[in-house]
């Protein structure tokens, strides 16, 4: 409540000051006073869609924009500041001069049937940047996040008691300076963080990171671009002063050759070690990609990558191959495709996974006519095979979506079907998912705007669940500056294998909207 009061004071105290000082300006937004009514039935832990819904009176300032004639801009999106699911973003900036932003975001996750066991996450952030010169930007960011409440072990423990209390906080901040000019960039950044677990002080950690990044188009031969960087990370356990550290360096070379050919090479080397011998690992990667663009109508990229992961007792060596292309014969039609494979082999020592083969692929097509509609179709999948341990995973997905602009409004919809098969020496797990979605947004008729949305989801095979969401929205503007909005939201979830896994909610929101224009 105290937080809400502070926010209300902030919004209604500082915004008028701001607006008064910048008298010559334009902008607008929506001030919304609303009430949410929530009717739930069933197991509250099974439907993520309503975890973060609350009943009560809400106050919001949405899509607020303010542009002063001197270039100063204020954007605010302060949603439900009186409720515990508030979501706040506030930005003040002047292009090429400075920027300040504030965010606050809260989320609740429920873990048991009646909703009494839950955790609440929050994340609050503040960012600022200033550009003292056209090509230099100094920035600073700070975030405070945390989670508290009662969770449970993933599996119903039986022996081990639940719920499990959780309470931690994480503070981070970073400060950096960046120089950017005509494909040249230099960046230096320091990051610090402190993690505090209030239930177990042995887990408290202090984190520090320093990063340098550079990118340079060579003078007079600007078709050659070099990039590189270095990062040092150190993690210290406060209780014991035990340290884990990582040093990483990387570099790249991009050659923009004639005839729209380009060659891109990059490497990364990372060494992680600690005060003990238990976490010492080297990673070394090399990658080479060759691309060609055909007169802005299409492009083709082929690549190869080698990775070595060496923890001084075991070594894994992998080779990856990559091919992708796109074709845009005209402004309406577009095709894309990609294929990648990775062969991972133990070249020394032993690991549980054994050798591993991976493949992924995706093809898609899209046809669109501006102001009329669009249709797209895609197919993608991936494979993983660990032959020695008999583990295999196949996944395929077909998806389609479309939209149509009609005289009465816009109709859009999507369909996705995916099939997944996990197999190992002891058991298999298969699933097939179907997802339908449809939206209809009607044009305004005598001040009334109606919209409807529906999502149906079905999962079969080793899982047997069904869920759907229906949403109706009616907005009536009874004067140029005032309107009323009614949103009716229905969520349903059923697990046909576990009978206590069911849930239905009806949520009604009534919002009184004042349009602000100046």
């Amino acid at each position: 409540m105290r937080k809400s009061c502070k926010l209300i004071v902030f919004v209604f105290y500082f915004l008028p000051i701001f607006l008064a000082v910048n008298a010559i300006a334009d902008g607008g937004g929506k001030l919304i006073l609303g009430y949410s009514y929530l009717d739930e039935m069933g197991n509250q832990s099974v439907s993520f869609s309503s975890f973060n819904k609350y009943e009560g009176i809400s106050l919001s300032l949405e899509e607020f924009r303010y542009r002063s004639d001197n270039g100063l801009q204020l954007d605010a999106d302060l949603r439900r500041i009186t409720l515990n699911n508030r979501n706040i973003r506030l930005n003040l900036r002047q292009s090429r001069l400075f920027g300040i932003s504030l965010t606050n975001n809260q989320y609740r996750r429920v873990y048991n049937f009646d909703g009494s066991d839950f955790t609440r996450r929050h994340r609050t952030g503040a960012s600022a940047w200033i550009a003292p010169l056209k090509y230099i930007k100094i920035s600073a960011n700070g975030y405070f996040s945390g989670e508290s409440g009662r969770t449970n072990n993933y599996f119903d423990p039986g022996i081990i008691p639940s719920p499990v209390p959780i309470d931690f906080e994480n503070h981070t901040f970073d400060i950096g300076i960046r120089y950017n000019r005509q494909n040249r960039m230099l960046l230096a950044e320091y990051f610090g963080g402190k993690f505090a677990n209030k239930n177990d002080g042995n887990r408290d950690q202090t984190r520090n990171r320093i990063k340098f990044v550079g990118l340079l188009a060579l003078p007079k031969i600007d078709w050659v671009i070099l990039s590189g960087g270095f990062l040092h990370f150190e993690n210290k356990y406060d209780a014991t002063d035990f340290k884990i550290r990582s040093n990483r360096s990387w570099g790249g070379l991009l050659l923009n050759l004639p005839e729209n050919f380009s060659v891109n090479y990059h490497f990364i080397f990372d060494r992680t070690n600690s005060d003990s011998d238990f976490a010492s690992t080297d990673n070394l990667s090399h990658a080479l990609y060759i691309s060609h663009i055909f007169q802005s109508k299409g492009g083709l990229t082929a690549g190869y990558q080698n990775d070595i992961n060496d923890d001084f007792s075991d070594e894994v060596n992998s080779d990856s191959y990559y091919l992708s292309g796109w074709l845009r014969p005209n402004n309406r039609l577009e095709f894309k495709g990609e294929y990648g494979s990775r062969i991972e082999k133990m070249t020394g020592g032993y690991r549980l996974l054994g050798h591993e083969d991976r493949q992924k692929f995706a093809v898609s097509g899209k046809y669109q006519i501006p102001d009329i509609g669009a249709i797209s179709l895609g197919f993608d999948g991936h494979r993983r095979n660990n032959e020695i341990i008999g583990s295999e995973y196949d996944f395929d997905r077909l998806s389609a979506s479309g939209s149509l602009h009609t005289p009465i409004g816009v109709i859009s919809g999507g369909y996705s079907y995916s099939l997944g098969e996990y197999e190992n020496d002891e058991q298999t797990f298969d699933f097939s998912n179907s997802s339908f979605s449809a939206d209809l947004s009607l044009k305004e008729y005598h001040g009334l705007v109606l919209s409807f949305g529906a999502v149906y989801y079905r999962s079969l095979r080793d899982i047997d669940t069904e869920s759907f969401n229906l949403k109706f929205k009616a907005l009536y503007g009874f004067s140029p500056n005032y309107g009323v909005e009614i949103v009716y939201d229905v969520d349903n979830f059923d697990d046909f294998m576990e009978r206590d896994q069911y849930y239905t909610s009806n949520i009604i929101e009534i919002n009184l909207i004042k349009n602000i224009l100046f």
């Binding site: 869609s49 542009r67 990483r248 894309k336």
Partner: protein, 315 residues
């Protein structure tokens, strides 16, 4: 205390106001008057274009003395000199019809950023033919950063496959607006997201409690992968049919890499075969106590003498 803070914030806001008016730190363009003056000529014929830029920093000004508005029609449309002499659709440049590199050069006159630089070098969007104006619409747009649609919706217009995963039983709270695509998928990185990427720090921004590094690492969480970080080996980041975004229910998650050790099936009357793996191996992301990721209090919770029997060693 509250009064002090309020005064402090008021002073800060006031200073920023003064700063924005005085323009002490911004550099003034020598071509300022030319930009504003010639752009005003464009509006003689294209008067509808003026309002199309309202609500954005590209907003035009007819006041040639206003050096705060640095952009005008001729800043983006090349060929304007000839076009003003002899107006024709053929002799005026339209950035929308240009290649990524040409678009980036135009936008780069003002927008020098890591995102802009990386798009023309290592960003996979650039290689896939995605140019500035694929995602950003300059005219008739009031969205933040001039995105063609709201941030998440814009990504979904191409990445529709991933969008469907948010409908699954367990999903990141994208639909409720708590998380956005760019919270995880950082644009402007020098390191390719799907290729020779370094250790991944993305998930730990929110899930700091599972981040590590730990004294005893679970190797899968800490490795280089073509498909991304180690987290996604067990979790499906957009959404999953199983709780907590895991990709298989029950012990199947562990069995994708591990066979059940024979001792688990026979000792203690097959205790290990009756329990789920994570009931004992609770610290599966990494442990501060033992290399088997066992619950540090397992001994007292299950059998007080597990660690004293000589069969199990805590570290």
């Amino acid at each position: 205390m509250i009064i002090k803070r309020t005064l402090l914030i008021t002073v800060i806001v006031g200073l920023l106001q003064i700063l924005s008016f005085s323009n002490l730190l911004s550099s003034e363009s020598a071509d300022q008057k030319l930009v504003v003056g010639k752009s005003a000529e464009c509006l003689d014929c294209h008067d509808d274009m003026s309002t199309s830029l309202d609500n954005s920093t590209h907003r035009l000004s007819n006041d040639a003395t206003n050096d705060k508005i640095a952009v005008g029609c001729i800043s983006c449309h090349d060929g304007w000199a000839e076009h003003l002499e002899e107006p024709s659709a053929e002799n005026i440049g339209n950035p929308e019809n240009k290649t990524l590199f040409d678009q980036a050069n135009i936008c780069g006159n003002c927008h020098q950023s890591q995102h802009q630089t990386s798009m023309t070098s290592f960003d996979p969007h650039g290689i896939s033919g995605v140019a500035c104006l694929t995602c950003h619409t300059v005219h008739n747009n009031s969205e933040s950063k001039l995105l063609a649609e709201k941030s998440g919706q814009l990504c979904i217009s191409c990445h529709a496959d991933e969008a469907s995963e948010f409908n699954r039983r367990s999903a990141h709270p994208y639909e409720s607006g708590n998380i956005d695509c760019i919270d995880c998928h950082v644009l402007g990185g020098m390191e390719r997201a799907d290729k020779a990427v370094g250790l991944n720090w993305t998930c730990q921004n929110c899930h700091a409690e599972n981040a590590g590094p730990f004294i005893y690492e679970h190797p899968v969480t800490y490795k280089h992968l073509v498909d991304g970080s180690g987290c996604v080996e067990c979790h499906q980041p957009h959404g999953s049919d199983n709780d907590r975004l895991i990709n298989q229910p029950g012990n199947g998650l562990c069995l994708q890499c591990h066979n059940t050790p024979p001792g688990h099936l026979t000792n203690h009357s097959g205790l290990g075969s009756k329990l789920a793996c994570l009931e004992c191996h609770t610290d599966i992301h990494g442990s501060y106590d033992n290399r088997l990721f066992l619950d540090p209090d397992l001994g007292s919770k299950l059998f007080p003498d597990c660690y004293q029997s000589g069969c199990h060693i805590q570290n």
